[in-house]
Symmetry: C2
Subunit: 870 residues, 2 copies
Amino acid sequence: EEQPSGPRGQDSMWRNEKYETVPLDVKEIDEGNSKGTRDSLYPQTAVNERPKDAKLWPYFQDGLRRIDYVLTYHVQKPQSTHKQSSKSCLCCGFRREQKNLPAHEDPELAAQEQRLDYHEDDQRLRREEFEENLREMGLEMEKEEGTKLPGVGFLKIHAPWDVLCREAEFMKLKMPTIKVYCLINQGSSIAEKVNVFIQKVTAPLQPNVGENQTENEKPLSYPFSREKQHLMYVILVLSLQILYEQWASYSIFYKYQPIGLVRKYFGEKVGLYFAWLGVYTQMLIPAAIVGVIVFLYGCATVDDNIPSMEVCDERNNITMCPMCDRACSYWKLVTACGTARASHLFDNAATVFFAIFMALWATMFMEHWKRRQMRLNYIWDLTSFEDAESHPRAEYEFHVMKKSLKKEQSPKVVSVAKLFDYKSIFLFCSFVCSMQIFVTLAIVFGVVLYRVSIMTALHMSSTPTFRTNIRATVKTTAAIINLIIIIIMDEVYGAIARWLTIMEVPKTDKSFEERLIFKTFILKFANAFTPIVYLAFFRGRIIGRPGKYLYVMGSYRMEECAHAGCLMELCIQLCITMLGKQLIQNNLFEIGVPKLKKMLRQRKIDKKHQEELNKTLHRHEKDHFLGPFVGLNPEYMEMIIQFGMVTLFVASFPLAPLFALLNNVIEIRLDAKKFVTELRRPIAVRAKDIGVWYTLLRGISKVAVIVNAFVISFTSDFIPRLVYQHMYSADGTLHGFVNHTLSYFNVSHFQPGTEPMQPMHLGYKVEVCRYKDYRDPPWSATPYEFSREFWAILAARLAFVIVFQNVVMLMSDFVDWLIPDIPKDISIQIHKERNLIVELFMKEERGKKYRNTIGDPSPQPLRSRPSSQA
Amino acid sequence: EEQPSGPRGQDSMWRNEKYETVPLDVKEIDEGNSKGTRDSLYPQTAVNERPKDAKLWPYFQDGLRRIDYVLTYHVQKPQSTHKQSSKSCLCCGFRREQKNLPAHEDPELAAQEQRLDYHEDDQRLRREEFEENLREMGLEMEKEEGTKLPGVGFLKIHAPWDVLCREAEFMKLKMPTIKVYCLINQGSSIAEKVNVFIQKVTAPLQPNVGENQTENEKPLSYPFSREKQHLMYVILVLSLQILYEQWASYSIFYKYQPIGLVRKYFGEKVGLYFAWLGVYTQMLIPAAIVGVIVFLYGCATVDDNIPSMEVCDERNNITMCPMCDRACSYWKLVTACGTARASHLFDNAATVFFAIFMALWATMFMEHWKRRQMRLNYIWDLTSFEDAESHPRAEYEFHVMKKSLKKEQSPKVVSVAKLFDYKSIFLFCSFVCSMQIFVTLAIVFGVVLYRVSIMTALHMSSTPTFRTNIRATVKTTAAIINLIIIIIMDEVYGAIARWLTIMEVPKTDKSFEERLIFKTFILKFANAFTPIVYLAFFRGRIIGRPGKYLYVMGSYRMEECAHAGCLMELCIQLCITMLGKQLIQNNLFEIGVPKLKKMLRQRKIDKKHQEELNKTLHRHEKDHFLGPFVGLNPEYMEMIIQFGMVTLFVASFPLAPLFALLNNVIEIRLDAKKFVTELRRPIAVRAKDIGVWYTLLRGISKVAVIVNAFVISFTSDFIPRLVYQHMYSADGTLHGFVNHTLSYFNVSHFQPGTEPMQPMHLGYKVEVCRYKDYRDPPWSATPYEFSREFWAILAARLAFVIVFQNVVMLMSDFVDWLIPDIPKDISIQIHKERNLIVELFMKEERGKKYRNTIGDPSPQPLRSRPSSQA
């Protein structure tokens, strides 16, 4: 009978048979560790130069125990009643997951302090209770109250080695072992050569962080275990200086980011954000190139475009109906020649191709990111990591506590409290959100009114030279007004979403974040896209017809589009929104405001002491002046809105990917700079994926298909041209198309008081004028009814939407199915790792058998699995 | 310094603090185990009655070692050159995953034997090598060659306890421990009461297997470990008799299935199939009820339906154009009264509602299944189970070997071999598949031709009474012919798909199965649905118009639909296909053929010995006569096709869910009977989900949305009625609708030779006849062109498709988002289990600290996590 054998045997097997023993005992590794991370703390000083003052080092007063984490709090000052408690993680070093211990309880205390206006003493008692809890966990602490910075206390925390080990083991943290194996190069020799070639070509694009040499080697990872710690790597030399030079610099904008280092310093969640941003930016390159080609195609074919030639041809003596009541008169179509030519740049056959291309591009991007994420998961040893349920938030527990307290005190209040229960709060939130969207609509309508009224007013003025520039001026100012409103409302909506979510009191941090993102997304998205949607789908469609115009606010006629359609104006609006939003938000909100805040924070200190202080201040005291880390949500949100701009209306603006690309190249380095120099080091958080953002991206790329289908078929003139060519054209060309799109109006049918004041403006008497619509002529049996052409073209437009949507969705699904979610080489490597562990297990088995059953006559190996590493 | 402590301490902690010790040593548990499973082997004998003959027991000759697995093979008979090697798993008992050891190599050998026509001796050598490998793994064997059954050898295998343990530990098989905890009843007291009420109501529906008492208790599971085996349950009392009585019986058709038992006996994969079938059948109940209500609504409103009243009204003296050239004459619309009334049963306003309902139903079903699957994963302890990469298939390795052999022998052949490389094989497969689909189309066209020609021939005959029944007769016979062809081609296509997949030589079993399923699905789906798609979308649409009909095959006019549309015929076709397919396939293929095969297999034995043999035969020898288990794919495929029938054209046939429900109630028990009594016990396979079938189901429910949108808008008259009511009707009702749908034809415009031979058939001279289409009248400027109404209705139809598709897709996504994938109680339980393990870990930590640092001044617990089990 085989006896259960203790792991002591297993242990010796590991040490003797599989691994070399490292001649460092635990203490020495700890020392090495702290020496290694020491460099990371002074980005401003050179790496090898050590400052003289020992006090500047992040160590306790004894100079032995390293500071792993610093908490700050306000100490009693008679004049201050407002409490503040902020935290900064200076050098969490190798075990960043400490967050699970103290960091979580700190904001709880802070929040409770803020809410309940308890006595100062009470707060100190609470702090002491909290510190006692930390001490029970095995952490060591040192206090420093108001020594240099008045009113600020620091609680410096050191996590001893055995506490770190305990937690690592408890979390089954996967650690790289000493055993390194080479990543295999699967595939034929050609694939290998291509790979080598690609590596050589992209070599100058790689950041110079001394990590690439070992790219095709990976240490075998294994859940941390104290018994096997001699096998684990624990040395993590990481310098912020490298990140500063190789990541947060504009001069290396063309290089890949050192994502591995970013992840090591800032944690997986931040690492994933920058990896995602990198993939997105990289994927924008082909989209931008194709977009530019499509645009150039439009430029090149503008002279061959028959409809714009017909508009510009003086011989086609077409008299158009007036643009406004009374003040305006009849006009010649030839004056719209410029707009018609410009429209062709964005409204041509290549646009349809580009819309399909971008829909597939979005799918490819999602797939590419899934694969990249999978690869990072593998490299970062997250494959078996599972998101644990997070603890209830302090606010939630406080809310529950308060409710139960109230219940005890006065049972009658309960019924009132129930009114403010979750459901009513949910309803309230929905109500506020709908209100906000209504406000957005109202604003858009306001801008429309502005345009209409200014246009009418300008038409009234009789300066003819002024009048020619009317349209362009009003369009541009309206777009800029829209932009400014969007930017202002963006901030307002962000605040409203946060306020609503706090009202809801979600149970966990995760649900808090999800709800906040959801609300912010809906509000900001509506804010950014309502004006664009109006331009694309409503403008010029609800104007009525000559003799029966639609009036708003009494006497204003609704806006018409130019003869060549509204695509041009949509394009201008998109261009201004994208460029303006990015420029203003990047410069003002991401650079200007943080700088301003930092200055304000420093100004609290007396100015005369400031320079002196700067020299003697400890690292953690200096970091106190940095801005707190507010999460990645604003960064993601900005990018998601941009992704919406790039995909949703790409059919009308093929240069959008180019603008986005230019912005993102800067954005990456800007964000990197902010993370490295402007913000306190965030608490490292493990994450396997980008969470709810992926769902939102997917949603946008789905909506993009249908929106683009509608833009092509309804906003552009693509379908009418196609129908004309195949159903009505005599010779199969577009000759006569312009005439076909214009209906006839008998000027005697004007409503009284709306006919032009200067009917002879063109020099001859007009009896029949033309307008852009498909309606029966005045002399038919059904004058001004929608004509057969109208219905045929409408049917064609709708059929195109159906075909486009389903074909593109099918193609997207096909691409999705075609590209495996897990890259081939990663799946092979995972398989290989599993085999290595099988091998270990086999050896262990054999060892056991030898030891336990010495009298065994058959000393064969127990398992002889076929070696499938071929 | 804390020293790494051996798990001996851990062990004692487990035993002493958390668990009771079981007073059974390893040997005893083994005994108990075999005693427990003993019952499972005699479904035909009562549970407690033990047969006298010890030889009948599945033990080795020594009567001690149990037979866990039996392999059979052909022994040398001079007359037989064809080799056969089949396997049957009699009683894999507690450790069914043995399959990983021998079963995998058995078919390899078998296949290699089949392919290479090696010498008999060579085969024996190979077998011996194989047996040697098994022995090396620690398995024990006994041979039995041709004792009772001539030409058949049995290799009986016994897996000793320590081999089982080793494998269980290696696979980290999660086993239930002795520690049982109560499942919590979360939620308010009302929810609890509702739950109790539901349990009481459904109590008579629960199968009587003695498992339900412990439903709200679940043992804490933990990966199997030899050191902790005293903590594990290993006793698995399972009797096939219970399955036979409580599962495989028609009399309990209304009860839930004992899925837990099914899974224990047949393994997770089979368990999941029956669980899925159960969920599907259950979900069909509401669909069937709503379908019946919709149908009844149609029946109830048939007399209030204005269009059919108008058709049936004798006063509307409408003369229709002839149905065929020359032989047919003009006819009165009133003769189509019956069809018009019948059409209303399936073509009314409720149909649209039902189509939306069924689209949401499909989403709900998918969601419900996801949750059920998650629940089963949790109950069956599969949450952390990961599908391992499977080994390469024997055929693949043989193929690779052959190729490399050829390379060595004659380097010139390589270039030829490359021609038959994967890519060319892939192309070949695609080609064959397209060919098959082309064949299907050809068959459909053939049936159409049959209908057309028979109709024409029958019209020629001058028996008037006969002629009235023409339509019904031809429709029905054509539908039956279609059905027969579908059933025959189903089998043919199955064989072709298998043949193609074998040609492809996929690398692993998994990819083999996936490719086979994919091909079979495409072929069978095309086969089943092409006639239906033709009826729904093409029939009656490509007929031309009077005076300019479309002719096929020389002189046959394409089929027209009845005046009320083709929906009626679509409905008949669906009804016949569903009922006929299910009846014939169930009765003939699932009951008849297996019985026949079994009889054939038994007839090989001399008949005179047969009865005598039956008495003395061992269990495994009897099982040799059972059919081999051929996988679940045919079962799934049948259900998927049915799911397609239920969802894809449900707009035209609201009774489909009812038919499917009736079929499935029988199908479950039929399959159960087959598994319990007709087939050899399949090798138990672990699986977390139903794999590729889920993807196919999702695909079908997506396609269903668009198909139903088209059926409603194009096949039914729903949209024309709507448009008439809102655009053309004088009083907003449907009065005059029938007249509106009929165009005018001047009989003088007939092509020469096509005018009716008996123009005076109706008793008066016809000058203008009517036909169903929207075309301009002969007296307009554009005679017989599509009218404005045609285009308006077409636009409305297309708009409806867009709206329907997107609204239903949005609603589906919303439902998908609304229902969490993991049931709330399961996620709470998983959380609780994790907490229990945390607790264990904490206790262990504390124990260690006490032992290792005795002089510790603070004997507090190391961790004081807030108890979050609230």
